[in-house]
Symmetry: C2
C-alpha cells in the first residue's frame, strides 16, 4: 500500500498525485525519468541513477530544481513514509505548464514509489522470447517517457506468444524497449551493442563485474549473431538479468545460462551492499 | 478565460482538469489527440478531425468510450459553457491507468479548449524560416502526443534565428513537427510528400481545392527540390497556410507567394461555411 508521493515541493497523498492536463508530459510527451530499486529501505545504485537523471534532463533542456543531495533526502523520506522495505522509486521531470503549449518553461518534479516483484528462479529458468523489429528509438541516450513503439507492438507480441521486442536498425540490434541486451558469442566473449542505446545502469555494472572473468566487448551485433550466440540475456533495473531463450522463434544456444547465472551471482553480491 | 474542460464523463472546472501521475500519458507518453478550430461557436471540419481521432486511437489500440455524435455534443456544450466565439478544441485519449504501468487497459478521454490567435497578414507576408533535420517521426500516420524531437530542437532553432525544423529521411523531406509542407516546383506543379507523414486535414483540403487550378502531385521531394522551388508553404489547423521564405538560410523563389495566396483564399471561403 503506497500512501505518499512527492510533487514539486511537497509530499502529498498518492491518490492526489496529479498533473494538470496542460503539463507538457501530457500535451507533448515531453518528460524524462529514472527508476531505481530500494531494498531494506535503502536505494540501490542511487548515485548512478541520479547522474543519468541529470544527464537526461540536460538532454531535453529541463532543469531540476533540487540537487542530488536534496533528491536523496526526499527519496529517503518518501520510503520511510510509505513503510515498505522493498520496491522502486521513479523520479520524473516533466516539461511543466507552458504558455504556448510547446516550449518548456518551468519543469515539474514528480517522485513516486512503485511495487515490483523480484524475479523468481522459475522466471530466470524459463527466460523470455524476443521478436526482432526494425526501429531506432529517438534520442536513445536520454531516458524519456516515450514508450509508444514498444507498447503499440504488445498485441503482436501476445499474438506471437512472445514476451517483448528487440529493436534493430538495418539488422544491427540495439536494445529492448526497457532493457539492454548481451550475447555470449561462440568464442565465449560477452558482447553488447555500443550505439543507439540507453546506457543502462545494470548494463554498466554487468560489464564491470564480468570483466574480471570474461572478455567484454562493446560492438555491433547483427541479428544473425544473436541467432548463433551461446547465450543471450537482457539487463534492466527491474529484471536485473534475464535469459533470452528464443528470438524470432529460434532457440538460443543449448537453452542454459552458465555465464548469465555466474554474472547474476556477482551482481547480487554487489547490489546487496550498495546503499544510499 | 477558459473555465470548463471535460474528462471522461463530466464537465469540470478547467483548473481541476488533472490526470493521475500513473496515467500512461505521463508514465509512457502513450496518448493520441486531435485538434480543431471553432469559429463563431461552430467547429470547423469536425467530421474530418473525428475520423482521424478514431483512426489514431485504433492505431494505438485505444478505444474511445464515446461515439462521434456524443463527442460532437460534448464539444458543442463545452464551447457554449466557455462563452468564447473562437478558439481551438483538443480531444486527447490517453492510455489511462494501467495495472503494470505499461499495458493500456481503460483509456481516458480529455477535452480541453484552447485560445489561439488567427495569423495576421503581416505574419503571412513575413513567412517562416525552416531548418532541415534528418529524422523520421515514429508512427507518423498516428497523431500521438510525441513531440520530443521537435521541442528538443528549439534551442538550436532559436540560436539559428529560424522558426522551426523540416524533417527529412535521407534528404527526402517529410513534414514539420506540427505541419505538412507543399512546394510549387519550377514547372508550376503543387507537390507534397506522400509518405512518412501525418495526413493533415488542412493538407487534404488544400489538395482538393488546388486541384481545380493546379496540377497537384504527391511525390518524394528532396531537399534540393525545396531549395529550387518557386514557392514553399506549410499547412496546419492552427497556421492554415503559411509561406516558407527560407530553408537552411537559402531564400526560396522570389520571396512572394502568388499560389499560396490564391489557395489560402479558396480555403478561407470553404472553412467559413464549414459547420458542426
Amino acid at each position: 500500500m503506497i500512501s505518499w508521493a512527492y510533487i514539486n515541493n511537497e509530499f502529498i497523498k498518492e491518490e492526489q498525485a496529479v498533473l494538470h492536463v496542460r503539463d507538457l508530459s501530457i500535451l507533448r510527451g515531453y518528460a524524462i525519468f529514472d527508476f531505481f530499486r530500494f531494498s531494506s529501505f535503502r536505494p540501490v545504485f542511487i548515485d548512478q541513477h541520479l547522474a543519468r537523471l541529470q544527464s537526461s534532463a540536460g538532454g531535453l533542456g529541463l532543469s531540476i530544481e533540487k540537487d542530488n543531495q536534496e533528491l536523496k533526502a526526499i527519496t529517503k523520506e518518501l520510503i520511510e513514509r510509505n513503510k515498505a522495505s522493498n520496491g522502486g522509486i521513479r523520479i520524473t521531470v516533466t516539461g511543466g505548464i507552458s504558455e504556448n503549449g510547446y516550449n518548456p518553461s518551468r519543469s515539474c518534479l514528480v517522485i513516486t514509489q512503485h511495487n515490483f516483484d523480484e524475479l523468481t528462479p522459475e522466471q530466470f529458468e524459463k527466460g523470455i522470447h524476443l521478436l526482432s523489429f526494425e526501429h531506432q528509438r529517438q534520442l536513445p541516450h536520454i531516458k524519456t517517457s516515450d514508450y509508444i513503439m514498444g507498447i503499440s507492438l504488445q498485441p503482436w507480441i501476445r499474438e506471437q506468444k512472445a514476451d517483448d521486442v528487440l529493436f534493430m536498425k538495418n539488422r544491427i540490434i540495439t536494445e529492448c524497449p526497457r532493457a539492454n541486451i548481451f550475447t555470449v558469442n561462440p568464442a565465449g566473449q560477452l558482447c553488447t551493442p555500443a550505439a543507439g542505446i540507453l546506457q543502462g545502469v545494470t548494463r554498466k555494472m554487468v560489464m564491470q563485474l564480468a570483466a574480471a572473468h570474461y572478455e567484454v566487448i562493446e560492438k555491433d551485433i547483427s541479428l544473425e549473431d544473436i541467432y548463433l550466440a551461446q547465450e543471450v540475456f537482457i539487463t534492466s533495473t527491474t529484471k536485473t538479468l534475464l535469459p533470452v531463450r528464443m528470438v524470432d522463434h529460434h532457440s538460443i544456444g543449448k537453452g542454459n545460462s552458465p555465464v548469465g547465472t555466474h554474472i547474476l551471482q556477482l551482481y547480487n553480491a554487489v547490489s546487496s551492499v550498495a546503499s544510499i
